[in-house]
């Protein structure tokens, strides 16, 4: 079996991940922050370790400003619903995932103004158009670091400059890049970074978070969920302190312990090394696919401007047939369709049929890429 769906979720996970999750359940079984006994402290410490590890990975200035959420979708919702008020204007791009588009469309119904900056047909963001759209009244700029259809990377430093010039904070959806592409939130000027744990960070599902930069006032951000935090128990109002303000309810301890193990595995190998490995595989895939007549690859040319995500179509073949035969005849697991990103497919001109997406990961080998190319060729040119 060849697993090429790492853009959906990474697999296999490093063995330490399952071990850390088991260890947490066996040895740190208390409720973090809810008591002073040692099992509670052990649990809180395990979670605190993950916060510190992530702060190191993303060069976040303050670990306490990393808020854990059950998913990147929750993190994006927290940022959008927490920050945007009635009458505000939000700017985003035409390559976004539904995790961004759906909450934005819902806000739009509630009289929030939304500007969707179009992208070129290869997915590249038009920075000039963005600059024109980001006027001083804009409350927030939202972009994916890389989209999940073509893997195209956005120049975050330039986008941050454009947003900051207008006085707007930048929310980055790093679902596709956290752990796969180096991210330094301070260097890049990211004000809010939403990440997921189960993709490039090699952790389990059910984990993710939002990193608050120093320009974001926690006071301004409303919590999505309110409830028990273990702190300020005598008050019936939600505490203002971070991260408690946004972390009501018992956290996903085993998941976060697993995430910590995943992130440590990533850091041990090095994000740069993973990036180089995946870029080499991506270059091989791009080159091989381009050589097959009738196959069309979307997104930017070359592997340098994208993550390890390749979308393609083949003349005369439906994407679902392609994906099905790849799996049934060659045990190659990719993904066909719209990938929860109709806006991106409209930009690429692949709506409503979508594309076949192949996404290698840190464990994918060169041989697996060659086998995949042979399989695509045999299906497309029998």
């Amino acid at each position: 079996m060849i697993y090429l769906d790492n853009a959906a979720t990474s697999w296999p996970k490093p063995p330490e991940v399952a071990r850390a999750m088991g260890d947490f359940l066996e040895r740190a079984g208390g409720n973090p922050g809810r008591a002073g006994h040692r099992l509670s402290i052990a649990a809180a410490r395990a979670i605190s370790d993950v916060r510190e590890t992530l702060a190191a990975l993303f060069h976040a200035p303050d670990p306490l400003r990393i808020v854990f959420t059950p998913s990147v979708t929750q993190a994006i919702n927290l940022a959008l619903r927490g920050l945007v008020r009635l009458g505000d204007r939000v700017v985003t791009t035409g390559m976004e995932h539904n995790a961004v588009m759906r909450p934005l469309r819902a806000l739009e119904e509630g009289r929030v103004h939304l500007t969707v900056v179009p992208c070129r047909p290869d997915g590249e963001l038009d920075l000039l158009a963005l600059r024109q759209a980001v006027i001083p009244s804009v409350r927030l700029v939202v972009v994916a670091h890389a989209d999940n259809v073509t893997g195209a990377l956005r120049p975050l430093d330039e986008i941050a400059r454009i947003a900051h010039d207008a006085g707007a904070p930048l929310l980055v959806d790093a679902a596709q890049t956290a752990g796969a592409v180096p991210i330094d939130v301070q260097d890049l000027g990211i004000d809010l970074l939403a990440f997921t744990g189960h993709k490039g960070l090699l952790g389990p599902p059910g984990t993710g978070g939002l990193i608050l930069g120093e320009r974001v006032e926690a006071r301004e951000l409303r919590p999505l969920v309110r409830g028990g935090t273990g702190s300020h128990s005598e008050h019936e109002e939600q505490p203002e302190e971070l991260p408690d303000k946004f972390e009501s309810g018992t956290p996903n301890g085993p998941g976060l312990a697993g995430l910590g193990a995943g992130v440590r595995a990533v850091m041990q190998r090095g994000v740069e090394a993973i990036r180089a490995h995946e870029a080499a595989l991506t270059a091989g895939l791009l080159e091989g696919l381009a050589a097959i007549p009738g196959v069309r690859v979307y997104g930017p040319p070359g592997a340098g401007g994208r993550t390890a995500v390749i979308s393609f179509t083949a003349a005369g073949r439906s994407v679902s047939e392609l994906a099905l035969r790849l799996e049934e005849e060659y045990q190659i697991l990719g993904r066909a369709g719209l990938h929860c990103a109709p806006a991106a497919h409209r930009t690429l001109g692949t709506f409503p049929d979508g594309t076949v997406r192949l996404a290698p990961g840190p464990s994918t080998t060169r041989d697996e890429i060659q086998a995949t190319l042979r399989a695509v060729e045999r299906i497309v040119r029998p």
């Binding site: 208390g30 273990g230 302190e241």
Partner: protein
């Protein structure tokens, strides 16, 4: 011991961040439960050496993790420092005021101490209930009981009883003391091949020492517990005497043999004259919310499985595998760690011998578990250390006693021969089975079988004397 301080934070995440930052700066710091007096939250504090307070403050401010407060803790204790010279060491000033002239009742949350409080209260004695929160009741208990935030079921039960009786009640945190006086000696004993009795340590070090000191500081006139034992006075010498409880099935004097004359002077055991059935009836009649609670038999912090607790608490390296040999020196197998065995143990040896084998000795110096046949468990003599005699000074000559070697109230005729330095030999008339080092041997007067003379910790038996 140098004084400790505690930094209090608004969130657990901040406390753990501070712990890490301080450790990174070379300041020893440890997250721990914040005393209730310092923080009303369930949040953690960070303990550190108080002499580093200024550095701690500056470092945490600079790092953006400012503590809500820095507090010195009492010398070697978990509670905040008292005001100068005031007996206001009490965390709850109201309690200190209410306790003056009253009897402090140690309420565990069980039916016995509840009825003890009720009896005193009914007799018109001013009563204040106090529950010690040792946290470590956690571990197993925590997974088994529906606990409220920050409160073991036991604390809530005790509070409910106090409310029902209409008496004052306070909860004292003594996690650090419990850890130091009960848990650590418990672990050390097992690692040293002994079988400890933590209930005894808790009584003599916490209830009748630590709590008693505090009760005195508040101006309380006495301390009461729900133990089944009686205190009397020798009409001739005027000395206090400890006697078995009236209910032979419930007698707990074995756990009290370390009491001193001073402690007995202000101790009260209101259940001493009662049978357990009467206690229960009384609880029902008073409508006490704990009337139906079952007896607690297990070690409160380790549940029914002390081995699992050991594995949890001691460094893995402390549980070294080693040989299991018979009394003739022949190696029969391997064991996973000396601390996981007790003398007299039959199950879990994994030897598969045709006749059952028992642990007859533990040799920590060689990491050896010595097993033998049933007859090798019997000894005629035990050596004791740390001998304590309730009357005060030891007798000059051997005493005819009834020796009780375990909590079950069965005593065997023996002769107690006091030796130098608090040691003694206990020579039994009939061989005794499974005499485990670490356990207490409590002696009752041969001529007055209910009178506790004292006792000591068994440190050895004489296998050569085996029948």
């Amino acid at each position: 011991m140098s004084r400790e301080g505690m930094a209090i934070f608004r969130t657990t995440a901040a406390a753990l961040r501070a712990e890490r930052l301080l450790a990174g700066a070379g300041i020893g710091a440890r997250a721990a439960a914040a005393p209730r007096e310092l923080s009303r939250d369930c949040s953690l504090g960070v303990r550190f050496a108080w002499e580093a307070a200024e550095r701690v403050h500056a470092l945490l401010q600079a790092a953006g993790v400012p503590p809500v407060g820095l507090h010195p803790l009492g010398e070697g204790r978990g509670e905040p420092e008292a005001g100068t010279g005031e007996p206001a060491a009490a965390p709850e000033p109201e309690l200190a005021a209410g306790a003056a002239g009253a009897v402090v009742v140690a309420m565990s949350g069980g039916v016995d101490s509840a009825v003890a409080a009720a009896l005193l209260h009914q007799a018109g004695v001013p009563v204040v209930g106090v529950t010690l929160r040792v946290w470590s009741s956690g571990w197993r208990a925590h997974t088994r009981r529906a606990d409220r935030c920050c409160s073991l079921g036991a604390v809530a039960d005790a509070r409910a009883v106090a409310e029902r009786l209409g008496i004052d009640h306070a909860v004292l945190d003594c996690e650090a003391e419990f850890e130091r006086e009960v848990i650590q000696p418990f672990l050390a004993a097992y690692l040293g091949g002994r079988t400890p009795n933590p209930c005894l340590a808790c009584n003599s070090r916490l209830k009748f020492a630590w709590l008693r000191e505090r009760a005195r500081a508040w101006g309380a006139v006495g301390l009461a517990t729900g133990h089944y034992a009686r205190v009397t006075r020798d009409p001739v010498s005027g000395r206090y005497q400890l006697r078995r409880g009236r209910d032979p099935g419930k007698d707990q004097s074995y756990f009290l043999y370390r009491l001193t004359q001073a402690q007995l002077a202000d101790l009260r055991f209101p259940l001493g004259e009662l049978h357990k059935a009467a206690t229960r009836q009384m609880a029902l009649r008073l409508g006490l919310p704990v009337a139906g609670k079952p007896e607690s038999q297990e070690i409160c912090f380790a549940g029914g499985d002390y081995r699992a607790f050991l594995r949890e608490r001691v460094a893995p390296a402390a549980l070294r595998p080693g040989p299991m040999r018979d009394t003739g020196g022949r190696v029969l197998g391997r064991h996973a760690g000396l601390a996981l065995f007790t003398v007299g143990q039959r199950h879990g040896l994994g030897l598969g011998t045709p006749t059952p084998r028992y642990v007859v000795a533990l040799d920590p110096a060689r990491d050896e578990v010595v097993v033998g046949e049933e007859r090798e468990l019997w000894t005629r003599e035990a050596t004791l250390e740390d001998l304590h005699l309730i009357a005060g000074e030891p007798p000059g000559e051997p005493l005819r006693v009834l020796a009780q070697l375990r909590s079950a109230p069965v005593a065997a005729p023996a002769t107690l021969c006091p030796g130098p330095g608090g040691t003694a030999r206990l020579v039994f008339e009939q061989p005794q089975r499974g005499v485990a080092p670490g356990q207490a041997a409590v002696c009752y007067a041969a001529a007055d079988p209910e009178l506790v003379l004292g006792g000591g910790t068994i440190c050895g038996s004489d296998p050569a004397a085996a029948a």
